[in-house]
Amino acid sequence: MGQHGKTGTLTRHDGGAGMTGDELVALLHTMMEIRRFEEKAAEMYARGKIHGFLHLYIGQEAVATGAIAALRPDDYIVSHYREHGHALARGVDPKRVMAELFGKETGVTGGRGGSMHLFDVSKSFLGGYAIVAGHMPLACGLGLAEQYKGSDRIAVNFLGDGAVNEGEFHEALNLAAVWKLPVLFICENNFYGMGTAVQRVSALVEVYKRAEAYGMHAEQADGMDVLAMYEATARLAKRVRAGEGPAFLEAICYRFRGHSMADPEFYRTKGEVDRWRTLDPIASLKRRLLADGVLTEERVADMQAEVDDIAREAAEFAEQSPPPPTESLTRDVYVDAPSAEEGSRA
């Protein structure tokens, strides 16, 4: 752990979370796919194919992968702006995600959103949002709607540690708790809000304790361990689905790359980053599955080749896709479905 690596009651999870070998391999595959996809995205950014902000998730793959694997495919996901991993873990087509980063017509939002605003409603992936904590009220509303309808679908809201001092964080936790909304909040605490260390700006550094203050069940998990994330998410999602109100999971994790591609990383040391890299969630699971005989070196090599292909094909697809036509500029500002106003026009 690095200089901020105090994780309170955290214990490393050593079981297999009751999963079969194939399921464990699938988790590894998803994490490897996210990693390789983002390495390819960084390469494409350096080559001038991707513009604007690009926030890489490298290092945090276990959080999205473990958590989303523990959800139902129709549970809503509302994420922050570092959300490529969440989209891919939910099964959003990597080709269409890469095309979105390229700003192409074939992207998940036709080039309208870019890296920070991926949406795929068909996968109940309701977006990446770029105003810190501004997406939390939406997760409450999605949960409210399902509660109103009497369904057992839940909303899962990924947020960063940077969100916890925003007013909307507190408003959302309070509303979710007082209305017992079916929302699972997952805070990815990577110790830095952009370049500012949590303890420099937060009076209470254990984020989950803030959620406890709103009377909801809250706990920490090792966000560098995909099985710990799977186990904790499955357990909390079950509570939330059963109508026991919202829950809050603080995932202790670390991003290996800068805040965005433009980050010179003056605020942390190379030594700290290197220490965390020894906890790489992909390398850890790989070692474990090899040691347990679930995987062979040959199979690992095959998997690496598979994810290399996925990333390469995604970049090729994005490269070959056309940009959105400029005639589409003003489409979808409003829903222009026939409405009452048309009907009553004389």
């Binding site: 809503y76 509302v78 998940v108 939002t109 036709g110 309208r112 959103g113 605003h117 949406f119 795929d120 409603v121 309701l126 977006g127 949002y129 105003i131 501004g134 997406h135 939390m136 009220p137 939406l138 997760a139 409450c140 509303g141 999605l142 949960g143 409210l144 709607a145 399902e146 109103y148 309808k149 909303a155 007013g167 909307e168 408003e171 959302a172 309070n174 509303l175 007082v178 489409r331 979808d332 500002v333 409003y334 829903v335 479905a337 409405s339 009452a340 106003e341 048309e342 009907g343 009553s344 026009r345």
Partner: protein, 328 residues
């Protein structure tokens, strides 16, 4: 046709929706047990239950955001923000989420949400409770902005707002809740983007919305006594704006004054003036003028507050200036 208040007209529109569309629910600060700070939702919680009529914490951002989220999930919420002044605490949700999600998601998401709030001044509520910020919302693509002036407007426009697939900012005027007018008993819909010619006239056009429509109408009566025949336009919605209706009126009268409670500098009236000169410059016989609120934080004292708001006398004086040499 029965004569009812602006408040009752709003109630009739909401009750119709609650009775006929299970997806509709209301939430807001003190709309339930208290009955609404302007008594618009009085009795609704008893009639429809707490599932359909929800009292919320005083937390505007999450209340609006939860309305957006519920709309994204297929419901048709109505959020009441009590007053436009408090909407500033929810402006992130309104501007960054409600207005943009349909576009950002490439049409995948819809936000059929009505956000009601009371705006306007004139009740000596001081600087923080007297805003007319409708122009700010009208500035944002993706929002519709509705500003009813009469009970007839209130019922017909709120019904249309509920049935619209887009986020609608519905701004009532605090001074109009008790005003009365004829309203059909049955439900009806008024189209957005269609101004009403409240009083036809030939010599100049007075353009108003919400509260300022009534000042324009009273000013027109005074002008009639001086042989100036003013047309009064009630805009009803600022976005969409009835540009064709405004231009048609100006082409007829060749002169126009925009009347609004809002601050003059950078206000919505400036947008109307700009559109008129862009589209009907050759039809104008005089510059288009504005009669707006003074550029000051609203003072409490009655005399100062009235001095800060547009008045009939001011409108009449501007009209006489525009029509100089024309009147008989």
């Amino acid at each position: 046709m029965p004569e009812i208040t602006y408040r009752e007209a709003l109630r009739q529109a909401m009750r119709y929706q609650l009775r006929n569309d299970e997806r509709v629910f209301l939430m807001g600060e003190d709309i339930g047990a208290y009955g609404g700070s302007y008594a618009v939702t009085k009795g609704f919680m008893d009639e429809f239950g707490e599932r359909r009529v929800k009292d919320t914490p005083i937390a505007e951002s999450v209340v609006v955001g939860a309305g957006i989220g519920a709309a994204m999930a297929g419901l048709r919420p109505m959020v009441e923000l009590m007053t436009i002044n408090f909407s500033l605490l929810a402006i992130d949700q309104i501007v960054n989420n409600a207005s943009k999600l349909h576009y950002m998601s490439n049409g995948q998401i819809r936000v059929p949400l009505v956000i009601r709030m009371a705006g306007g001044a004139g009740s000596q509520l001081g600087a923080q409770h007297s805003h007319s910020l409708e122009g700010w919302y009208a500035h944002v693509p993706g929002l519709k902005v509705v500003v009813p002036a009469t009970p007839y407007d209130a019922k017909g426009l709120l019904t249309t707002a509920f049935e619209d697939e887009n986020p609608v900012i519905f701004i009532e005027h605090t001074a109009l809740y008790a005003s009365k007018g004829e309203v059909p008993e049955e439900i009806y819909r008024l189209p957005f983007g269609r101004a009403e010619v409240m009083r036809p006239g030939a010599d100049l056009t007075l353009i108003g919305y919400s509260g300022s429509v009534h000042q324009a109408r009273r000013a027109a009566q005074q002008l009639a006594a001086q042989d100036i025949d003013a047309e009064v336009l009630n805009l009803r919605t600022l976005r969409p704006l009835d540009v064709d209706g405004i231009i048609a009126s100006v082409r007829k009268t060749h002169r126009a004054i925009v009347i609004e409670d809002d601050w003059k500098f950078g206000g919505f009236g400036g947008e109307i003036v700009a559109l008129i000169q862009e589209l009907a410059f050759d039809d104008l016989d005089a510059p288009v003028l504005r009669c707006s609120g003074a550029d000051v934080p609203m003072p409490y004292a009655g005399a100062l507050e009235q001095a800060a708001l547009p008045q009939e006398a001011g409108i009449v004086a501007l009209a006489l200036r525009l029509c100089e040499g024309e009147a008989a």
